[in-house]
């Protein structure tokens, strides 16, 4: 077992997804019990270090290629410099070695400003190239396209949960080829880091805030996904798979979706994050709209000077017909609200989405006032990740 060399079976990248079986192997875990581990076989060129395939796993995202090519550029630049330095060093050591113990240095210059300035300035041109190239690709990695799908990633000790726009969850990441995705990452406990080598993408996950990672997967296949920031005893167990499907249909059919069990307010919060968080804060600071943690049961005035109380009726009306009663300070009387109507987007039925949002608003004011009983049958929404 110890001397068993790894098998580097070539896997044709064009193979259909059906052939991509996840091999599950159970290995002994010091954490107690057993933990399944995904062993992913990947194609790696093993003989030629001058080829980028030697250094890198498969390229499965749009920017992977430019990362690799910059790497190889720096590799060759470094190689030239390194070989030159070592060759010069060895050459000097042979030619000018002390012979017979006689100390006889030959007269030579001890400084030469021109040459010193030259060898300071010329390499820096290469450095500028490296910076510009690296920064350009970095920008691509960071700035999402507008039509990207948003997937919530929750990292915890020691595992992953991926929540798709319809609320379904998986414990592996399932993406669709050529469908850009923004991952909104959050951590349940300590620092983690999202890393998929095939995408060349990595992002730390910081508790208490969101971080985002943007990916444009462009090649179907199954890749390693690992935690890259030390998080405790199970750090090296915090691995899963990232599966890029050829199409949306394929993803729907070949994924084991887990339907979540939410309580009303939890679903409300989920809806808040999807639909409201852009304009409404929940930290007492007004954003484009009023802060929602102060909303429930609040009494105030509309832009027109009319008094209102933020009860169920008012909130329901504000979500469905935002322009009717604009809160003072957020728009003129009679103008069109900055907020879009959510009619047809959030269900109005009793026990539906709007009621869940209201439960969330109440929860924000007083967590004890809201039942935490789980909802067994969440209303069916759009199909998974439909665009």
């Amino acid at each position: 077992m110890i001397w068993q060399f790894p098998t580097l079976t070539a896997l044709q990248s064009t193979e259909a997804l059906e052939q991509l079986a996840i091999k599950q192997r159970v290995i002994d875990s010091s954490l107690g019990g057993t933990v399944p581990e995904y062993v992913l076989e990947r194609k790696i060129e093993t003989s030629n270090p001058f080829n980028q395939a030697y250094w890198f796993p498969e390229q499965a995202s749009t920017y992977a290629e430019s990362v690799d090519s910059l790497y190889m550029d720096i590799f060759f630049i470094s190689l030239v410099f390194f070989v030159a330095i070592v060759a010069v060093m060895v050459y000097f050591c042979i030619v000018y070695r002390r012979k017979g113990g006689v100390i006889a240095p030959q007269p030579s210059s001890s400084h030469n400003t021109t040459i010193e300035i030259l060898w300071s300035v010329l390499p820096s041109i290469l450095l500028v190239y490296m910076f510009v190239e690296g920064a350009g690709t970095f920008w691509e990695m960071k700035v999402p396209k507008t039509d990207s799908e948003e997937i919530q990633v929750i990292a915890y000790k020691y595992g992953w949960q991926f929540i798709y726009p319809n609320g379904d969850t998986t414990s592996e990441l399932h993406l669709v080829q050529d469908q850009p995705v923004v991952l909104k990452l959050q951590s349940k406990d300590v620092l983690h880091s999202f890393f998929v080598p095939a995408f060349r993408q990595k992002q730390d996950i910081v508790p208490g805030r969101y971080t985002t990672a943007y990916i444009e997967p462009n090649k179907a296949g199954q890749y390693r996904l690992s935690c890259n920031e030390y998080c405790g005893d199970g750090h090296s167990k915090m691995r899963t798979a990232c599966i890029v499907h050829v199409s949306q249909e394929d993803r729907l059919a070949n994924t084991e979706w887990k339907k979540p069990e939410y309580s009303a307010w939890e679903n409300g919060e989920h809806l808040y994050k999807i639909h409201c968080a852009g304009c409404h804060n929940i930290n007492s600071i007004a954003g484009t709209g009023p802060a929602l943690n102060l909303t429930w049961n609040r009494e105030g005035k509309t832009a027109g000077g009319e008094a209102f109380k933020a009860n169920e009726t008012y909130i329901k009306e504000s979500i469905l017909y935002p322009s009717k009663k604009i809160v003072e300070g957020f728009g003129a009387e009679g103008s069109i609200s900055k907020m879009n109507s959510f009619k047809g987007i959030l269900s109005e039925t009793p026990g539906g989405d709007i009621d869940h949002v209201i439960a969330f608003l109440r929860y924000l004011q007083d967590p004890d006032s809201v039942s935490s009983e789980k909802l067994k049958d969440l209303p069916e929404e759009k199909p998974a990740a439909a665009e």
Partner: protein, 122 residues
């Protein structure tokens, strides 16, 4: 400004008592001024944004007086002055760059629902 003491070694520059007392007087004056400003400012029509810079300017004037005369910087070697002032430069660098960065990502913290942060064990 130092007293004339020709018999002293050249590294010895006693400051005059008058000067020290004058500096002390100004320091007390500035302290009273800054407390008074802070008491009056909120009620006055002066722009609220300026209260903090004004307090800092007063503090810096006080710091200058202490450094220059109590700490003898006025008569000290230039090198020592550079050494000391460099510390504020590096502290400013530390504060500045960190502030710049946290300012950029502060949104992602503010928008994070606080109840989702793992709660401390009771």
């Amino acid at each position: 400004m130092a007293d004339q003491h020709n018999d002293l070694p050249r590294f010895n520059h006693p400051a005059s008592i008058k000067l020290l007392l004058a500096v002390f007087g100004s320091l007390i004056g500035l302290t009273v001024l800054t407390v008074a400003t802070s008491a009056v400012w909120p009620e006055s029509n002066l722009p609220a944004d300026l209260a903090f810079p004004v307090a800092m300017i007063i503090a810096s004037v006080k710091a200058f007086l202490v450094c220059a005369f109590f700490m003898h910087m006025w008569w000290d070697k230039k090198f020592n002055i550079i050494v000391f002032l460099s510390s504020t430069l590096f502290a400013a660098l530390f504060i500045g760059l960190t502030l710049l960065d946290t300012g950029h990502y502060q949104n992602s913290i503010d928008n994070f629902p606080r109840n989702e942060v793992a709660q401390p064990p009771e």
